[in-house]
Symmetry: C2
Subunit: 309 residues, 2 copies
């Protein structure tokens, strides 16, 4: 059998996605498992069910700080069960590659998605938290890229990371639902409370908030715009630092593009150096949940050559 495929895996906080990917970027087979049980078991099962003789290696994108040389997760704030875990042995003979999940998403979009037309871009994953991955000269820049933990309001909200005013405490899904919930607790009037999440404000999702905003709810709209403004400040900082050709936005929150992202684009263009921002493209990722598994497979096919040198 021709050795021409890779297993790409995206290990997230609640789901694990895995796929068998061909060398030209086609997804041959894919699966999804929950990681609410034993993550390591879920990983092994996914590998077992996709493994065949054509597989040359396994790539994994993991939410957290990783040590790719030692194939270890240094710290995964959202999946504590894998902190310190050694992923190198999971290949059962084939090599294992490990990266941060926002970095694999960036590689996936570069290879087969919205990043194809750019030599350099910053990808941000906008979900419960905010992650970052930097593509530079068609390769992955081997840096932490923890853009969600850039403080933009130095005396601001306490972040679980230990700092204050990190981008993700203002612009993530958790920040948006938190802001709405808190406002309602403090007596704000909002359709969100009555019409969504069965009247239970602690079950509100970002989707509920977006739908409410779309339906004209002011509180929901302001929460999304406020988060978007902060996102724009973070994007402006990244433009001034990384001077990318594009900023690609991924994750569930991009569904709220016309309110949340539009506000971010407006704020970023007010703040970033004009000469750096005037020609920049800010656009949505195009491969959705597949970007991570594609990027993880890309790592297998390219190894060290996937990275800037």
């Amino acid at each position: 059998m021709l050795k021409d495929k890779a297993i790409g895996i995206d290990v997230g906080g609640t789901n694990l996605r895995a796929a068998l990917v061909s060398a030209d970027g086609a997804i041959i087979k894919k699966l999804k498992e929950t990681t609410t049980g034993n993550v390591m078991d879920a990983l092994k099962m996914a590998i077992e069910s996709l493994m065949d003789d054509s597989v040359v290696g396994i790539g994994m994108g993991v939410a957290g700080l990783i040590n790719r040389k030692e194939k270890k997760v240094i710290i995964s704030p959202n999946i504590p069960a894998i902190n310190g875990q050694d992923f190198g042995g999971l290949g059962g003979g084939v090599p294992v590659f490990i990266e941060n999940d926002a970095s694999t998403a960036a590689l996936g979009e570069m290879w087969m998605g919205a990043g194809r037309d750019f030599e350099s871009f910053v990808l941000l994953t906008l979900g419960t938290g905010i992650g970052g991955g930097f593509i530079h000269k068609g390769k992955l820049l081997d840096v932490a890229a923890e853009a969600g933990h850039m403080s933009i309001e130095q005396g601001g909200r306490k972040c679980p990371c230990g700092s204050y005013g990190c981008l993700e405490t203002y612009a993530s899904a958790r920040a948006i639902t938190g802001a709405v919930t808190k406002a309602i607790e403090n007596g704000a009037e909002s359709a969100v409370f009555k019409d969504y999440a069965g009247g239970n404000i602690y079950k509100l999702t970002p989707e509920d908030i977006y739908r409410a905003a779309f339906d004209g709810d002011n509180l929901a709209r302001e929460a999304l715009k406020d988060a978007g403004k902060y996102l724009g400040i973070g994007i402006a900082n990244l433009i001034n630092i990384m001077s990318p050709e594009a900023v690609i936005l991924a994750g569930g929150l991009i569904g709220a593009w016309d309110i949340y992202i539009n506000e971010a684009v407006k704020e970023a263009s007010k703040r970033a150096f004009k000469s750096l921002s005037e020609n920049i493209k800010i656009l949505p990722a195009s491969r959705g949940d597949d970007a991570g598994v594609l990027g993880a497979a890309h790592l297998v096919f390219h190894g060290e050559k996937a990275y800037t040198c």
Copy 2:
């Protein structure tokens, strides 16, 4: 004559430094001119006085955003006279290379200074403004690296760049003297006013403030510590984003290391991801005003190979 030397030039806001540099990094001859007259004339004179048959090219580090391919200054906020100027023709036959001045300083420290032991580091120039240069895998990362224009207090001080709360509005020399001057205007008691700058608070320099702090003046001390705290926030952001092995600090303000930088180191270690910051070195640049001309000469000797690929 052997073609084995380069002219390195550092074009700053008030001074222009130029040197004839050998391929092994020795400074053979150097000179300094003021740029308060006609900058382009000063540049031409410097080149003329250093040029000989052994020169293979001219490298320049310029304070501002540059377009290195077109050899043009896009915008130099502190030397408006060179905005849009084309530097390519200044070589009179030998090739010309142009870079941002913090990037050439980073290259100079990498080649012949405090950066020699590191594969990757962030260099910050702490002067009137704050500049940045990133070394990645022993090469210059080809990005804007405008670390001084990262907003860390989003609703904070208005920055000349158009944004608010940029790092340099809180942590630069201009920010420090500004804070002391304003406090004295508002009636604060301080030895700085009486004993330094001839009693003229508008002539206070960062050196005056450091000496006053060293002599026990509280206002001066607090101004330096406050600026240091903000610098630490900026450094923490850069650690979380760039995960360097070291942060190298250059520029006049590093003379205030025991107050200003110590505070920055303390704040950065509180805020950055522990796994990224615990082994990091934060240290002073060792080549002072020579780093820029050395880095500019390095560019001549290496061309495109000076950059990450």
